[in-house]
């Protein structure tokens, strides 16, 4: 870790700044989770939607639609799986 951070005296933080830091860390964690899931989804949906050879650096219209649908349907499956598992547990 950066030495300037390991040498920090966290006791110097005021209560207000401590609360602000906690909020910042919690927001940053959430942002990280979304970005990580985006990496996973992009990998999956790229393989499904970008099937032809690369002709230029932009997405084609059909690929754009496919990517958006791919995300939505993947999440549908995610919810359905959880729901099904939930009903198995009850039944």
């Amino acid at each position: 870790m950066d030495p300037s951070v390991s040498n920090l005296d966290l006791e110097q933080l005021s209560d207000k700044d401590k609360a602000e830091l906690r909020q910042f860390v919690s927001n940053e964690n959430q942002r990280t989770r979304v970005r990580e899931q985006t990496h996973v989804l992009t990998d999956i949906c790229w393989k499904k939607c970008v099937t032809s050879s690369v002709k230029n650096g932009a997405l084609e219209k059909g690929e754009q639609t496919c990517l958006a649908n791919c995300v939505d349907r993947f999440l549908d499956v995610n919810f359905m799986t959880l729901k099904h598992l939930g009903s198995m547990r009850q039944g």
Binding site: M1, D2, S4, V5, L8, D9, L10, Q12, L13, S14, D17, E20, L21, F24, V25, E28, R31, T32, V34, R35, E36, Q37, T38, H39, L41, T42, D43, C45, W46, K47, C49, V50, S53, V54, K55, N56, G57, A58, L59, E63, Q64, L67, A68, C70, V71, D72, L75, F79, L82, K83, G86
Partner: protein, 89 residues
């Protein structure tokens, strides 16, 4: 600047640096994997100029795909939050 403020700013800066680095590393790793797959189907003795062109275009395209996916994912999250469906799962 108070010492509390300067400690806070240092911590925030370090967290952002580390999380942005991790994000870039993940993007590069996946981009490498997928563009290698697409642009170098049969690895030859050296990388050809058409493969190089493909890699450059594929890199741009992968980032465009990432942004497209991120947008769709965020829209879905907002929708699920407003439908309050997270509490039922």
């Amino acid at each position: 600047m108070s010492s509390s403020e300067s400690v806070k700013q240092t911590v925030i800066k370090q967290i952002l640096l580390e999380s942005n680095t991790a994000n870039a590393r993940q993007l590069i790793e996946k981009m490498n994997e997928n563009c290698f797959e697409k642009c170098v189907p049969k690895p030859g003795a050296s990388i050809s100029s058409s493969e190089q062109t493909c890699i450059a275009q594929c890199t741009d395209k992968y980032m465009a795909a990432w942004n497209q996916v991120h947008q769709a994912y965020m829209a879905r999250i907002r929708q699920e939050v407003s439908n309050n469906s997270f509490s039922t799962v």
